[in-house]
């Protein structure tokens, strides 16, 4: 006993492994927790289990062959991922997309944003023990899948966009069905709110938990609904608009301590949850506007067979469901990109975990991961 020095024996710290196989981490993520009883000292993330080297693959494919890979970067909001890549390449090549194609693009992107947020908030609710609201959202997602399947033939990974437009047109029957769905969808969202968003136990579980204030968000590069919940009014669709977003009329929800009466502060998990729900309502508005003003025309611009952009590099941000998805493309004049980098919102959110997780309960860590809406393929690409 006399040989043990004080440095070697730790009484308070227990190292736990919240491993890759875990029902609550959204995807294949691993956390090494250092805890003191129930309270965490830090949670160190360990990523790379889903690394598929998409950026290296892009260096051997032409620009139009790369679209299926963009789906798989974020399979829950695949249309938004498609749009990010299409906007970047079209800006490099200087191609102008016809109006009808732009409207259809925005329609599918917003539908996918609703679907992705449904999974995001539903997964947060089901991690906290309320299984029924998640399944209600999945039921609504089935309707969205049906309409997207009528549009492009696939349910989850669409490969719908092409350089210069979309590759299948939108039928009038689908358009009417989507308009009818929007009415029912608003009522279902209201039911979801009454079921879980105004529930006292749920609010108490999320109020004041995992607070990330404005300065931390900006320093760590956290974007998207997480940034807006901290009070920063920044949305790529309004500040650096692309496509037809400057013609549409929609509001950007910003967090304002929605749970203040129950001990909530600006930038806590409940704010992030409510910002996503309000964004879903705004997306319904956008879909209605788009469908009412849909012009006639062609759906694909005339592009040359071999796309050879001029030498140079560009960084184009767009707003995906999880934040800013930006593409950095460096082209050397041939028809294959020399370097392509995908910047995703979940990556920045993961990188902030080591510092902000000091002082959580283990149960709060689960709420934090769910409220940041982290998807593993976005982190690892």
């Amino acid at each position: 006993m006399s040989n043990i020095t004080e440095k070697e024996v730790f009484f308070d710290e227990m190292t736990l492994n919240m491993g890759p196989h875990h029902p609550s981490t959204h995807g294949v993520l691993r956390f090494v927790l250092k805890t003191d009883g129930e309270i965490l000292k830090t949670a160190i993330p360990d990523v790379g289990f889903l690394h598929r080297s998409i950026e290296k693959i892009a260096e051997g494919l032409t620009y139009s062959q790369f679209f299926p890979y963009t789906d798989r970067v974020d399979y829950l909001a695949a249309m938004n991922a498609n749009q990010a890549y299409a906007v970047a390449v079209e800006k490099m090549l200087g191609i102008e997309v016809p109006e009808r194609a732009e409207y259809i693009r925005v329609l599918s992107a917003e539908m996918n944003r609703i679907a992705s947020h449904m999974v995001g908030v539903g997964a947060l609710a089901s991690d906290l023990g309320a299984f029924t609201p998640f399944l209600f959202n999945l039921r609504d997602r089935e309707y969205l899948y049906d309409y997207l399947e009528e549009m492009c033939g696939a349910r989850l990974t669409y490969n719908y966009f092409t350089i210069g437009g979309v590759h299948r047109d939108l039928k009038t029957t689908t358009k009417d069905k989507i308009l009818k769905f929007v009415k029912q969808g608003r009522k279902n969202l209201d039911e979801f709110n009454r079921l879980i968003a105004y529930n006292k136990i749920f609010i108490r579980r999320l109020a004041g938990v995992a607070v990330v204030d404005k300065e931390t968000c900006i320093e760590y590069g956290i974007v998207g609904p997480n940034l807006r919940a901290a009070g920063v009014n920044y949305d790529v669709r309004k500040d650096q608009p692309y496509s037809i977003y400057d013609k549409l009329d929609f509001k950007v929800p910003v967090g304002k301590a929605f749970a203040a009466s129950d001990g909530g502060v600006l930038g806590d998990a409940y704010d992030r949850f409510m910002v996503r729900i309000l964004e879903m309502e705004e997306s319904y508005n956008i879909i209605e506007q788009v469908l009412k003003n849909l012009p006639e025309g062609e759906i694909q611009a005339k592009v040359p067979r071999k796309l050879k952009p001029p030498v140079g590099d560009i960084y184009v941000p767009t707003e995906s469901a999880r934040g800013e998805m930006g593409y950095y493309i460096f082209s050397d004049g041939t028809d294959k990109p020399w370097r392509l980098k995908i910047r995703t919102g979940s990556f920045s959110a993961m990188s902030a975990f080591e510092e902000i997780s000091n002082g959580y309960f283990i149960a709060d860590l689960v709420s934090a991961i769910g409220s940041f809406d982290i998807v593993a393929p976005e982190v690892d690409r």
């Binding site: 906290l128 579980r205 283990i362």
Partner: protein
Amino acid sequence: MESIANSLIQSWGITSSTGAQLVSLLVMFGFASVVLLAFFLPFAGITSWLERRIAGRMQSRVGPNINGPQGFLQWIADGVKAMEKEDLMPDDADAPLFKMAPYFVFMGVGATLVAIPFSEYLVLSDLNVGIFYIISVTSFVTVGILLAGWSSNNKWSLIGGVRSASQMISYEIPTALSILTVVLLSGSLSMQDIVKAQGFWPWEWHISNNPFMIIMFFIFFISSLAEGSRTPFDLPEAESELVSGFNTEYSGIRFALFFLAEWGNLFVIGAMTTTLFLGGWQAPLALKGSMWLTPVQFMIFMTKMSVVVFIIIQLRWTLPRVRVDQLMIICWHYFVPLSLLSILAVTIWMAVSHGNSTIELVMSIFSTAIWLYFVLLVLYRAVRNFKRTDAKLNLNFLE
């Protein structure tokens, strides 16, 4: 039951010596346990089927509907599957404790069935300390869960076991205090006496005795949920946080025993609630002395118990989980002071009313009005929510 067993033994012509008394004791035990298991195990299984179907319909999907008519044989299939699985045990696990833990939990729940009255004559053993016996026997579950968490040699199970032990020990206090008020009102610890102190009509139940008994009913109900680890208090087995908590390392029939104990506990909670607060097996006085008495009493008991079980199942699939420290705050900051206050109020009320039946009747009808108002409010809200979503009530649950 005791008299039947005694008459059986005497018909075999055994004299009263110590050896024969021992044999008669063993025969009684064997008889009682056979009856217990034959009633308890199917009921636990049927509750599991009921829960899965109700959960499915609530989430706009169908539950199990393939094995047998309406999926009724699903629980038998699950039991057979659990029995034929490989019996794993971690290498460094504490073998005797690991094997003993499920039996503690199962025994803690099963032994309570001995004293529950299903009708005036259908009770396995009418102990004169009935309710006290039930409270003490349910503490075995805590021991079993602690053993399971510790002996699995797994940090996550340990956290789950310790959380669960602290939760169960804390919530025994409000449970016991609310039972104390019922005992005060009925004047005896025996379960049959508690039921006989109530009547058939809703204003003769213990819940309608005075408004504080409504508070006691809620505290008892919620504390029993916390004892049985049901959502919103199911942190020990929180699926998404600890991968099943203290029963992570269990497989096969040992795992099934934990879950049978949980569903059996639902049954026990329902039975206790109806016996203590909702009038038990009391049937209308007009039926006294007819041969329909026992079946009608049994049906009344089962109906009330099924309503309580249904509410518990619905609560599980609607509400999110409460966090560990919030759980403790609810118990110690709110429930314990409230129950102590209510005991004081009930004793004052009993001293004031002092057997004066008109005052008691007036107070009973007043309290009945209060809890009927809340029930009607819930129904009204449900109908209004339905209309708001334009949902259609699909009563065709046989498809």
